[in-house]
């Protein structure tokens, strides 16, 4: 499925770079908030579920080549992070649901 399918299926809020969502394939998923942990374990094309909406999360998303960041439980997305995401073309989404509930639903669709 594409990131756009993900947005439509789960009515996700689009915080950055939604215009890239139709072309971006979601191959899997990863949940985690410790950036070093995520960076070394998330796979290319994963939908990354996290509460970390800071500028360093964007750095990790770029280096790990994830398909998108999905901020869970309406977690904050600060201005520095938004700027960095725009510069790097990182798709950032948000949901009010927690990582567990979202992961279960996303896994069913993959």
């Amino acid at each position: 499925m594409t990131v756009q399918n993900l947005i439509d299926e789960f009515s996700l809020e689009v915080l950055c770079c939604g215009d890239k969502a139709a072309d971006k394939e979601v191959k899997g998923g990863y949940c985690g908030d410790l950036l070093s942990w995520v960076m070394s374990r998330a796979n290319e094309g994963d939908c990354w579920l996290t509460v970390m909406g800071n500028v360093n999360s964007i750095g990790v998303a770029v280096l790990a080549d994830v398909a998108c960041i999905l901020l869970t439980e309406n977690s904050a997305f600060d201005d520095d992070a938004k700027l960095r995401a725009e510069q790097n073309g990182v798709i950032v989404l948000r949901s009010s649901e927690n990582a567990f509930d979202l992961a279960v639903k996303i896994a069913e669709k993959l």
Partner: protein, 140 residues
């Protein structure tokens, strides 16, 4: 690609929001010249961790990169406090990062272990009160 590419970066120790810029640029260079994807990813992760360490622990530093068709060599130099116990610092989960850094998602004690994991060669020369020089080599 037959030439050796050399790059030099200065890592600002006061601006945490810019940490990751050097590793991002190195990654882009490697991608552009057609370095193998797995080696590009390994280099990016190792250098990002090292760059974050420069900001968290050393007040910044400098990064010298040498890229050849066979390998990429990265030398990170700082004039920070040095590493008191390298063996301990190499253990997963051991961290001396302050709480404000942990709140940003770092300080999990994965930095040096990750660098070792993703480098083919890693060397640390450190002296308390003087600084640290870390040399990494990742083969193509």
């Amino acid at each position: 690609m037959s030439e050796v590419i050399k790059q030099h970066y200065i890592v600002d120790g006061t601006d945490f929001t810019r940490a990751g810029e050097a590793s991002g640029k190195i990654k882009k260079t490697l991608k552009d010249i057609g370095f193998p994807p797995q080696a590009v990813r390994n280099t990016a992760i190792a250098v990002y961790e090292a760059e974050i360490n420069l900001v968290i622990h050393a007040g910044g530093g400098e990064i010298d990169v040498e890229i050849t068709p066979e390998y990429v060599k990265v030398v990170l130099t700082d004039h920070g406090p040095g590493i008191e116990n390298v063996e301990l610092a190499m253990q997963e989960g051991y961290s001396t990062a302050p709480d404000r850094i942990r709140a940003l998602g770092f300080g999990a004690g994965m930095g040096l272990p990750n660098i070792k994991k993703y480098s083919d060669e890693m060397d640390i020369q450190t002296e308390l009160g003087v600084g640290t020089v870390m040399t990494l080599k990742i083969n193509a």
